[in-house]
Amino acid sequence: MSRIGVFTCHCGENIGATVDCVKVAEMCKDIPGVVHSVEYKYMCSDPGQRQMQEAIKEHQLDGVVVAACSPRMHEPTFRRAAGDAGINPYMCEMANLREHCSWVHEKGDATTQKAADLIRVLVEKVKHNEPLHPIKVPVTRTAMVIGGGVGGIQVALDIANGGHKVVLVEKSPSIGGHMSQLSETFPTLDCSQCILTPRMVEAAQHPNITLMTYSEVEKVDGFIGNFKVTVRKKARKLDEKLCTGCGLCIQKCPNKKISDEFNEGLGTRTAIYVPFPQAVPNKPVIDLQNCTYYKTGKCKVCEKMCPTNAIRFDQEDELVTLDIGAIVLATGFKLMKTDAFPEYGYGKHKDIIDGMQFERLASASGPTSGVMKRPSDGKEPETVVFIACSGSRDRAKGVPYCSKICCMYTAKHAMLYKHKVHSGKAYVFYMDIRAAGKDYDEFVRRAIEEDEVKYIRGRVSKIYEEDGKLIVMGADTLMGGEPVVIKADMVVLATAVQSNDRSEELAQTLHVSYDSYGFFAEAHPKLRPVETNTAGIFLAGACQAPRDIPETVAQASGAAAKVVGLFSNDELTREPIVAVVNRQAAPVYSTCVGCFLCQGACPYQAIEQEEIKARSGEVIMTLARINPGLCQGCGTCVATCRTKAIDLQGFSNEQIYAELMTL
C-alpha cells in the first residue's frame, strides 16, 4: 500500500479565497493510500517546504502530492525539496488548484469538491509513478551565432570573451548588418560606422571567433549541448587565402551598372564586389546573376587582373557540418518596401524613399557622399516630408504592431536633413510620438525646438506628382482635422519593420516557434525573453520583435550570458520525461511490431531502429528505439503507436488510465 502525503496550499488568497482548503485537506485523508494530509498558507515558502520534508521523514511517505499552483511554476521547487528529503523527486506531483480551479471558479462547495477531485486524480497518478532519473548529456562548448549584425557581433564577442568558441554565420558577404548602412545613430548622432567597424574588426580577429560569411544554415539536428549544424558556404568564386583584398578586380570589372543592395538601390556596383569599403572580411564575391562570364561564358577580366591568381570560377558551394552546443539567432529584420503603398504611388515616384534609403543619402559613405540630393534629378530638396507609421499600426493594410524605431529615426532624419540643408523645411506626419528611452524624448524635443522640424499629428491620405513636386495631402488632427497640403521635393516613409525573409523557414529548420508575422517567439515574454522554447537556442535583437540598437545589444549580451551559463556545466541534466519503447523477455522482445509509423511522426528525429540479434548474429527483429537525448517528450509517437508499445515516462498509459478511472 502506498504512503502518500497531500499538501494543500492556500497560495495566500489565490486559492484560499475560493477553495475551502481546510476542508479539502480533511477530505483527502479519506483517499485510499493517503496517510498524511495538511494545508498551509504558502507551501512554496521555506517553512512550507520544510513542513513537507519533515512529513516525508516522519510518516515514511513514498509519494507526495502538492496541491497548489501550476506545475510550470513550482514543480521544480517541490521536486527538489522532495528529493532532498530522501525520496525520488519524480514521486512528487502537483495538483493545480490555482489555474485549474480557484482562478476559474466562484467560491462554493462545488469548487471545493473540484479541488478535492483534482487531488484524488493526482494521488492515483502517484500510486503508479516510477522513480525516474535525470538524463545526463555532454556539452559541446562551441556556440553558433546566426546573423552578423550588431546583435550577432555582440553575442559572439561576449561568448568569445567568456572563453568559449563561437562560429558566427552571416548570409551576406560581410558582417555588419543594417547598422553598417546607417549614417548616424540616435539619440547621440554619432557616426554608425565609426562605432560599429571596430567591433566588426574585433570579431574578425578574436581567436575564439570563426567567421563564416556568405554562408547559410541548411540543417540542424540534435539537441541542447549537442547540435549538429550543417552550413552552406556559398562559393565566393575566389580563394580567400590568396586574396589580399587589393580591389583591382573590382576596379577593372567591366560590368558596373548593377543596382547596389548596400546603397538600397541608390547606387551601382560591379559584378565582383565587396558590399562596402569597410567590409569584414574585405574579400570580394562574384555575383553569379550579373557576372558577364557566367552569363555569356566570356570575360574573366578579374582573373587576368588578379595579382595573386585568387579567382576560382569553378569553385562550388561547400557544406560544412559543425558540432555546436548552443545557437543564438540574431537574424535581424527587413523594412517594408515603398511599393506596398497604393496611396503613395506604389513606389513609382523616385523621390518617395524609405528610411534606409534616406540613411544612405545622408551617409558620408553613401552614393552622394552625404550631400542631400534627391534621387530623381539630384536636386537639393527644399522641402522634405517624413511620414511615420507607414504600414505600422495599420490593421487594414500593414501590420498591427508598432515598429518601435521609426519615431526616433524619423526625428533623427529630420534633424540630419536640417543640419545639411539649413534653409530647408522638414515636416513630420505622425500618429503618436513614442520616444520612451534614455535621452529619447529630449532628442525629439531637440528636433522640434532647436531644429524647427514641423510635427503634424495626422495621416497622409495621398501623394501625387505635379510640376516636379510631390503634393502631400494630409490632415492636422490637432487642428480639428484641417486639411494640410504640402508641396514637397522628397518624401521619406518610415516603413514598417518586418521579420526577415526566410525567417519562417529558418524557424522550422531550428524547430523554434514564431508568431504570425514571422518573428521568433521567446519562451516567456517577461521572464525568459532571450530563450526560445527549444532548449539551447536563444534570441537576440530584431528577429524577435522590432528593436533599436541599444536594446539589441543589451539583449545580445543577455543571450551570451545564457550561453556562457550553459557552457559552465560539464554535462547537462535533462528531465527524464521521454518516451520509451517497451522491451520484454524473448520470444516477444517487445510489443513493438517494427512498422515505424512512429518514425515519421516524430518531429525531433528521435526514433531509431534497433536490431534484436540472436547470439549467432542473425537479426531476429527490428524494433523502434527512442534516443532519450533527442526526445522532447511530446508524446506524438505514443498516440501513433497502435500496439501501445510506447509509453511516456511520467505520463504512462497506466498513470493516465488510473487518473481517469478515479473520476
Binding site: 515505424f596 515519421g600 506524438t636 500496439t643 498509459n653
Partner: protein, 266 residues
C-alpha cells in the same frame, strides 16, 4: 489459370519457392486458401470469381514465414495489401513472389518496385455496391448515422473475426488484448463494441487497402468494412493518397512536416 499453375509448378520444381499460396475448392461454392507445397498439389488450386479472400493475411504469419520463400497467387487487393505490408516493414522486399493473373497472361512480381509499378496501372476504387452503401450512409444525418451504427453494432459479439481476417491487423499484441490498462472493455456491450470498432477504424485509416475482407468475415453480417472504407475515402479526398500504392511509407495521419500550416487549428 493453366498458365499460373504451370508457372507455380515450375517454381516449386526448381526449388525457387517452398510453397504456393492460392485458392482451392471448399464446401459448396466456397473457395478456401490453400498452400501447395509440392508440385503435385498445384493442380488443386483454382482461380475463379468465387475466390475473394485477401490472402495477404497469411504471409505475415510466423508459420508461413518459417516455410521460406512463398509464391502468392494474388488478386489486386492482395497485391495492395502485400505492398502496404512491405512499406510497413512487415515483409522484406523480395521475400515473396507475387503471381498476378492479368487476363491470359501471368505477371511475376518479385520486388516492391515491380509491385508498385504494376499497381499504378490498375485503377483502385470501390465496387458499385459498396459505393452505394457509403453514399447512403453519407446522406444520413449525424443522428441517423449514430442510430444506424448503434443498431448494427449491437449484434457484434466481439469474435474479432474482422480483425483476424485483416491483413493489416498484424500486430503481435493488439490494443484490444492489452489489459494493463484495459482501455477498451472486453465485454461485447454497446459502449465496448463502439469503442472497439472506433479504434479499429482509426488504426486502419490511411492503411486500409479496401479489400472488404472484414465485412465478409463478420459472422453476423455487420458491414464493418464500411467504417474503414469511409475513413480511407476521406483520407484519399484530403491527402490524395491511398494505402497499398507505394513501396515507401507515407502515412497521412502521422507524418510530421515542418511546412504543415495546420490551418485547421483555430
Amino acid at each position: 489459370m493453366e498458365a499460373v499453375n504451370q508457372r507455380a509448378k515450375e517454381l516449386l520444381e526448381k526449388g525457387e519457392i517452398k510453397a504456393v499460396l492460392g485458392y482451392a475448392k471448399g464446401t459448396g461454392h466456397v473457395r478456401r486458401p490453400h498452400f501447395a507445397r509440392k508440385a503435385g498439389q498445384v493442380d488443386q488450386l483454382v482461380l475463379d470469381a468465387a475466390c475473394l479472400q485477401n490472402l495477404a493475411v497469411y504471409v505475415t504469419k510466423h508459420e508461413v514465414k518459417k516455410l521460406g520463400k512463398v509464391a502468392v497467387i494474388a488478386l489486386p487487393a492482395t497485391q495492395r495489401a502485400i505492398l502496404q505490408l512491405m512499406a510497413e516493414r512487415q515483409l522484406r522486399d523480395g521475400e515473396l513472389v507475387i503471381l498476378a493473373v492479368d487476363g491470359e497472361a501471368v505477371k511475376e512480381l518479385d520486388s516492391a518496385a515491380a509491385l508498385e509499378e504494376h499497381l499504378a496501372l490498375k485503377a483502385q476504387g470501390l465496387d458499385a455496391k459498396d459505393k452505394a452503401l457509403l453514399a447512403e450512409l453519407d446522406a444520413m444525418s449525424r443522428e441517423q448515422r449514430w442510430v444506424y451504427w448503434q443498431n448494427e453494432l449491437s449484434r457484434c459479439m466481439k469474435c474479432y473475426a474482422c480483425r483476424n481476417s485483416c491483413p493489416m491487423c498484424y500486430c503481435g499484441t493488439c490494443t484490444m488484448d492489452c489489459n494493463r490498462p484495459q482501455w477498451v472493455p472486453v465485454a461485447s456491450h454497446g459502449i465496448g463494441n463502439l469503442e472497439y470498432h472506433a479504434v479499429r477504424t482509426m488504426h486502419l485509416a490511411g492503411r486500409c487497402v479496401e479489400c472488404g475482407e472484414c465485412g465478409r468475415a463478420c459472422p453476423v453480417g455487420i458491414p464493418v468494412h464500411l467504417l474503414t472504407f469511409a475513413a480511407e475515402e476521406s483520407i484519399h479526398e484530403q491527402f490524395g493518397q491511398r494505402a497499398g500504392a507505394k513501396a515507401k511509407l507515407d502515412y497521412a495521419l502521422s507524418t510530421f512536416k515542418t511546412d504543415d500550416k495546420e490551418s485547421f487549428i483555430r
